[in-house]
């Protein structure tokens, strides 16, 4: 169990780290997608099946497309996707900041005792036997999610709806607006 978690974590972190340090944007994007997969695996590990698949569907299936298109659309003409190196000073300071934040967070986590939370919270994981195992996700079946979404969070749902619509309009308007020079011609 924990071994699997560590494996997943290492995979996710490694791909993310390499993704953010590569100079080839396409490789970065693809590696980041791999790391999103890792996150989905983590969700599965934790028993959140629906979220895991949603993560894959949305991130790997859709966000990745948006990112890839963005990369392909914003390349300097005729150049490779390789981008210029970033300033070293900035990178170093960023890394220092990051490590500092991680230090603080890590210390906080390690110093907190979660023991009193854990025993009560851990739902029993049913054991599967492989083929046709009767796996019921730990707590949140899709039905549960649906019930809650439609009752407690109906307002949030509407807000999300509005948000999505606005995002759609905004993004389309932003991306599709005619550039300054493209008005002069109509082939």
């Amino acid at each position: 169990m924990t071994a699997a978690l560590v494996l997943i974590a290492v995979f996710t972190l490694a791909t993310a780290a390499v993704a953010l340090s590569l100079r080839n944007l396409i490789h970065s994007a693809l590696l980041l997608i791999a790391s999103w997969f890792g996150i989905a695996a983590f969700y599965l590990w934790a028993g959140a099946e629906f979220v895991a698949f949603a993560q894959v569907l949305v991130y790997v299936g859709a966000v990745s497309m948006v990112v890839l298109f963005a990369v392909l659309l914003t390349r300097r003409s005729r150049a490779d996707t390789v981008i210029a190196p970033d300033s070293v000073a900035r990178a170093i300071s960023a890394v220092i900041t990051g490590i500092a934040v991680f230090g603080v967070l890590g210390a906080a986590i390690l110093n907190t005792s979660f023991a009193r939370l854990s025993p009560a919270g851990v739902p029993p994981l049913p054991s599967g036997t492989g083929v046709s195992p009767v796996i019921s996700a730990p707590t949140a079946t899709v039905r549960d999610i649906g019930m809650q979404l439609m009752s407690t969070h109906a307002a949030a749902l509407l807000i999300i709806g509005i948000l999505l619509t606005v995002a759609l309009l905004g993004a389309v308007v932003l991306a599709a607006q005619d550039g300054p020079e493209s008005k002069q011609e109509s082939p």
């Binding site: 659309l73 003409s77 020079e181 082939p187």
Partner: protein, 393 residues
């Protein structure tokens, strides 16, 4: 179109690239220059188009010729008049019979030779069979370009084989018939052969019905071809476009009617005309022309007179036409195929020139393709009906 319009059109022509946006524009992305051909599944041979794309839209298209330039005209000057006949088979290799005829016609004009009536009838029969063959294959290839997985092409070739069987049993070769001679035809079709031709004519309509059921009403094909590659009649005339492509723009010009060569005036047939000049019209005009060809065939087979097939005065060896020049043309399946011959009295022509219909029809290729997508360019090219042997000679 008025004169000034035409001049404007040509002036626009005179500055190539005027229509091409050279400004780099980020919204439209980079222009991508793609070479389609010479090895490309849909260029019908070794034709090449250098296409400049904006996304998938064509902003510039330059045809490149010559990948099958076999020096036909030069060779024609070094071999005898008769020796050129088998070479004409290899011009438009889908319709050797009409090439033969056009060449024979030009030589007959040059040498002032008469053709017996039976031979004229046989020529008409073979020319119309060739038209059937060519148009059927073209429809098959066009559909292949539209992305059919071979089925229409297979059906087209199935019928082609029947016609080729006829050609083979008459002339001895499936494609390279080398059948017409100056002053007649090489062999006289037997009664069996004529019966076979009659049978084929009778059932060709059924095949066309099936073919049309498969294709003509097909929504995808209509969507792909209607409104694509429009050509205006004015431009078509100015660009020397001939054949079904010209008639698809609505211009009533069929050499079988205009020149009334051979015995065509004796037959009752109509000339289908299109109104839009797009790919669909070009396809449909050919289908309708095939139906008219069947009518001509029926009449010709019924009225075939007895008599010699060759002018008895015609000479095979040491054929030397009088000095002079002649331009003879007929309505080939692809358009006006003409031969311009210049004789200096020797056994070889001094100048041997072919007017290749599909080459000249390609003049308007860029005009038809601009603003359309790559996929359209492919079917537009397909609808022009080119055969590289004739384009590059």
């Amino acid at each position: 179109m008025s004169v000034s319009d035409l001049s404007a059109l040509n002036a626009q022509r005179a500055t190539p690239g005027a229509r091409v946006r050279e400004v780099h524009d980020s919204f439209h992305g980079d222009l991508l220059e793609v070479s389609m051909g010479p090895h490309h599944p849909s260029t019908h041979g070794v034709f090449r188009m250098i296409v400049t794309l904006d996304g998938e839209t064509i902003v510039k298209l330059k045809p490149v010729f010559g990948y099958l330039h076999r020096n036909h005209e030069k060779l024609g000057e070094t071999v005898t008049y008769l020796g050129s006949m088998p070479y004409t088979d290899r011009l438009d290799y889908l319709s050797s019979m009409t090439n033969n005829w056009a060449y024979a016609l030009a030589v007959e004009k040059l040498a002032g030779q008469a053709v017996p009536e039976r031979a004229e009838y046989v020529r008409v029969i073979l020319a119309e069979l060739t038209r059937l063959l060519n148009h059927t294959c073209l429809a098959g290839f066009l559909m292949q370009d539209c992305g059919c997985s071979g089925t229409p092409l297979m059906y087209a070739f199935r019928e082609r084989e029947y016609i080729l069987d006829l050609f083979e049993s008459l002339s001895g070769s499936r494609m390279m018939c080398n059948y017409q001679r100056f002053g007649g035809c090489r062999v006289d079709p037997s009664a069996d052969w004529l019966a076979g031709a009659q049978k084929l004519t009778d059932r060709y309509g059924t095949f066309l019905d099936e073919f049309e059921t498969l294709l003509t009403g097909n929504e995808i094909i209509m969507a792909r071809t209607q409104g694509v590659g429009k050509l205006s009649p004015e431009l078509a005339i100015s660009a020397g476009v001939t054949g079904p492509m010209l008639r698809a723009t609505g211009v009533n010009y069929d050499l079988r009617k205009v020149d009334a060569y051979g015995v065509y005036p004796r037959f009752d047939f109509r000339v289908p005309l299109g109104d839009h000049g797009d790919v669909y019209d070009r396809y449909m005009i050919r289908v309708l022309e095939m139906r008219e060809s069947i009518k001509i065939l029926q009449q010709a087979l019924a009225g075939l007179p007895a008599g010699p097939i060759m002018d008895p005065k015609a000479k095979l060896r040491s054929f030397r036409p009088k000095a002079g020049e002649a331009y003879g043309r007929i309505e080939g399946p692809k358009g006006e195929i003409g031969f311009y011959l210049l004789s200096d009295g020797s056994p070889n022509p001094y100048r041997y020139r072919i007017r290749p219909p599909s080459f000249i029809n390609l003049t308007v290729l860029e005009d038809m393709c601009l603003g359309h997508t790559v996929a359209d360019a492919v079917i537009i090219l397909g609808s022009v009906d080119i055969v590289l042997g004739e384009v590059d000679r």
